[in-house]
Amino acid sequence: MFRNFNKWCLAVMTILFLTGSYTAQAQDGGTLFKANCATCHHPFNDGTGPKLSGVRDAWLENADEATLILWVRNWQDAAAQSSYAQQRSTLKGSAMTAFGDKWTDEQILSIFDWIDAQVQDDGSGGGGDAGGAEGGATEEEESSLGWIWIALFAVFATIILAVGGVRRQLKHAQVEVEGDEEGATASYADELKKWAWLNRKYVGLGALVVVIALLVTLFQGLYSINIMEGYQPSQPIDFPHQTHAGINGIDCKYCHNTVTESKSASIPSVNVCMNCHKQIKGNEPEQQAKIQKIYDAAGWDGQKYTGKTKPIVWNKVHNLPDHVYFNHQQHVVVGGLDCAQCHGDMTKQVEVAKVQTHEELNAVQANIDAGINFTKATLTMGWCIECHNQATIAPGILADDNPQTLTYYDEIHNRLVKHNKSLYSKFLDDDKVSPRELGGWECAKCHY
């Protein structure tokens, strides 16, 4: 019985082994390619290794299939055997991995089958430079709109003056006929005065309206000085945050990497762009044109770096005057804030970056969760201290998120408990300790 069982086991294992190796053989060339080759090769783009589309045909023409398979197994052996392989081996600076006996010949060929079955998407979607042209058009429209107003104003002024002139001449004629001396010598100003006096009710009301309107405009103008809300300067490259942070899930801190250790969150240098864009060339012509600007800046000619670099001069979006000290590290690392709490949800920002309005910030989930509701314009002092009053400093979030700062806030809580318990309980009246209560409203925290 036991012997039989052993035999059974053996049989089952053999069957399993056979089916296993069968499935391995039938494995899709695409899967093999993605798992093993795609690190260096792309069907249509040169990367670390050359592009592979059409490679098999070239080898069949110049060498044979066996040499190609041998190349995959060990390129040095192949180079020793065939002059074509020898010639190919000088193509790239870096040596290809020798895959040895990892795959059967069929599997290697299945990879090439998969590559040859790929169709290049050259992105000739007909989009053209439509985006750029459109942008120009709207700009033109806006400026021509201004001109229309000025032209209208000129036309109105001409009509009014002309009508006034005709009326005056008619009056002169009338005076000549009727012989009314007084009216004949009256100047424009005299006439206006006379007219104004006759209609003093309407003129007074009108003047009041105009004065109030001007005052309101003046104050609105004064209040809008240095309000950055909605400020959206143009950029040398129309950078869509939505594609990067949204679709591709890149963390803000990857590109703006100094945010955790510096006062400013850096604008990434072009080598950071190239970490991905060396491979990502864009599908639409519009995208390709934008990415080409990165290549020009980095000195990448599609194959290699040429060393001829050119800076991209970005326009700064969030400006704070020098008399305000703001530190990103303090807010991101110590305070544990989410970038979106001040900068809005950039994962949905399709256009270039802008200073989000406080209404947009109020819609950010992290602000809703933290119970922060802004009423003042973004980047104004009112906006800063509003948050310093509403935000919570609790050991809870800090303990989970930032263990390294735990001791600092623990210390503050402990000192309060020890030395000023009544103050501490006053702080905790609203069940939280806010930055304001720990000095976040002291002038010298930000102005010094």
């Binding site: 795609a38 990367g47 201004g146 104003f153 309000i227 890149i250 240098s269 072009v270 005057p321 263990p403």
Partner: protein, 263 residues
Amino acid sequence: MKMKLRIIGSLAIAAVSTLILGSCGGDPDSPGLEYMPDMYRSPAVEPYVDYGHIKERENPELKTRLSAMTPPNGTIPYYGTDSAEVYLMLPYKHKANDEFRETHGMYGEELSPKSINTYELAATDKNPLALPAESDSLAYKAFWKGAEKLFVANCAHCHGEKGDGNGPMMANETYTGVPDYKNVAATEGQMFYSIYYGKGAMGSHRSIVNKKEIWTLVHYIQRLLNKDYGTADFEAEADTEGEEAEGEEVADGEESEGDGEEG
């Protein structure tokens, strides 16, 4: 009646002129008026401040013509006076391979001669960053939590949060060819080299993460490969295996088939 018409006419003129004056918005690229421009820009040069545009006046001499740049070669930031910390930050002992000039844009920097493959040399490097013991629970938690955050911010969009090479960039097929860490045969020294100088399609990350952070990431990657890495059990195991194993982490990295992203 005529008078009324004229009043309406003059009011219309006033309204139109207000509109026209109000529409003088100016340059959309200018941040606008400032209250006290002389308090807006530091006399000391600050990052990302365009000194060419002060008080609505343009000064072409001072205008920003540069963007963020990679740090100059050989610069060592100040990292305090803790010798252990400073030791970690000393310049990396391996130069980049010669081909990195063209593949990774390392112009104007001293590279290793063609005959020396520094990636191979880096294989025997050991991680100088000591791991906190599991018994020191606060430091232990803080270290691994910090390492995870670092990994998620800097690596996970391609390599995936589990290191399986399946981050969001790969999942939506924006990018191709990121390997599963399991399929990469690299020692910890080579992991550092690859992050520092780049490897294959991956660019150099030395301008983003400093050496201490890279060594932290190297620890974290090894923990992704072996969930016991850095725990008390792991230490004990490594001890019992004696000198021959030279630490579990190396053996672990080489357990795969040896088909790295070489080449």
